[in-house]
Symmetry: C2
Subunit: 339 residues, 2 copies
Amino acid sequence: MSGEHMRQEMAEQPARLHDLISRSDEIRERVRKTAPSPMHGITIVARGSSDHAATYGRYLLEAATGLPISLAAPSLHTLYHAAVDYRGQLVVCVSQSGRTPEIVTTLDHLCAAGGQAVAVTNDRLSPLAEAADAVVELGVGEELAVPATKTVTAQFTAFALLAQALGSTPFSGKDLAALPGLVEEMLDDDEPAVMAAETLAGASHLIVVARGFLYAAALECALKIKETCSLLADGYSSADLRHGPIAAVTAGFPVVALNGPGPAHDDVATLVGELGERRARVLTIATDADAAMPLPPDVPETLLPILAVVRGQQLARALALRLGYEPDTPEGLSKVTVT
Amino acid sequence: MSGEHMRQEMAEQPARLHDLISRSDEIRERVRKTAPSPMHGITIVARGSSDHAATYGRYLLEAATGLPISLAAPSLHTLYHAAVDYRGQLVVCVSQSGRTPEIVTTLDHLCAAGGQAVAVTNDRLSPLAEAADAVVELGVGEELAVPATKTVTAQFTAFALLAQALGSTPFSGKDLAALPGLVEEMLDDDEPAVMAAETLAGASHLIVVARGFLYAAALECALKIKETCSLLADGYSSADLRHGPIAAVTAGFPVVALNGPGPAHDDVATLVGELGERRARVLTIATDADAAMPLPPDVPETLLPILAVVRGQQLARALALRLGYEPDTPEGLSKVTVT
């Protein structure tokens, strides 16, 4: 039980993200050339961890471009062969391997229907890259641990670069350039994760909540814990949690809450208070000074999800080790999923 | 512990759905007048149970119109005030009360950005109805039980009517007209739910899986169980489950699988087999002859989610009663959520 691949791949993130961000000019040019004109909207196609990067992209691209952003329902295209019209749509397909057949088939279907496609992938020779009009290569090298780490933060970062290419971003190039250093500082500080894992060690299930831009990081944090620790973990928007699921939160129920600065802060802080009243066991990953796992305070809220995902990786790995699991190779999972 | 309101409101569904379906001509006319021309896409705005009707609508409207369908991220508009351009978008806002402030604010924001709005609501005098360009009134009367039942099946059915109004549906008017009678037959047959509840009685958590059109019903079925039984229940697409969450499924883990005819059938059936190999406790709500809770076999797959939602209501209510909960008033939930 060492989780050595996962640790190693997490540790590569600062350098890999730095490389990716340094290619932003070239990526911008390629993406702008591919975008349809006029562009009526953007459709994102993804599954699994990539789907969480897609959720982040969904928020960021709508904020940057002002256009309606849709997350594709792949089965409509792969199973039902719906007759669609995607003229004026930029189709962004995300798959680290570029080999998930469902994603490739959906890309083909939407391009045949008039869409223009960008592939976000780690393999520029993959079928997905071959089929797309433009490729954003993650360039993070092979990932050996089954739980995706460096490919996920690279996918999140790729969406920040796409937003830069396609609109007006709520962060600066300087903010983006500072990210790798902040990831490094967090990775050097593993102690909060070990302590948090101790708090969660008895749990058979947990939920992860956030709102707004951090919601995507909550989904990813939950998936990482679910994959590595064989326990039921799900991500919720704080707004959706209040619409029903909160009924399941009883005394001792473990909740991980992600929070940052910005307009969503007070809503999540209020929820944390409410969960406290239900005597839930709440663990915070936040920019607040008293957070169990701190996030750096001076990052635009719109980039913070990338850092929160790293905290989630640390928590998942520490908890898996605490529980005696091998995080590199969770039972019953394989790297490429055929659906 | 009687769940009398919930039972009563479930029992009203055949008559209420019949009334709603009988207004389809009038609804079609109103919706067609409101749709922008040219229409570039449709954006659906919803939270909670309404969000599951929205997920159903997302599949059905794309299949019917061929246009990209987006589920709005309300916080982008209510918290972040993103500058957006929604010209050419039909905006469908779903809220049974018509009083969820977040949905009303999002409607206002998207209409100010050029969208044309339809409100799907149970209250034609609500702020949501007042703010919209057209109203699809559910007309199902007041709902007293906290877990929404008749309002949810009416919302699902309203999306079937919207699909009829806006495109070419994969079902006929005759198929639609037959639904209320089929709902009645299922409600008369409560025994499978009682037996299924017995099977699930020891569980502290469960998952509900489906794929394609039935996926929305899986989400709703999970929410209904979560609300009424204070246990952790989540809905998954069978494709997404294979991308990680399946690691949490160990021996004895309870899984409810929804399945119907059509192109998604074999994928879900294969998954049920795989879950069996993991010695999960699988309970099926399906058109297959050996299903624990049967669905009528001769219904187009695209309408089957409405019937599966009713099976989910029966299961949630029976399980709550079996566990000694009062399904009408789950602990810690209120009917209108302010977010």
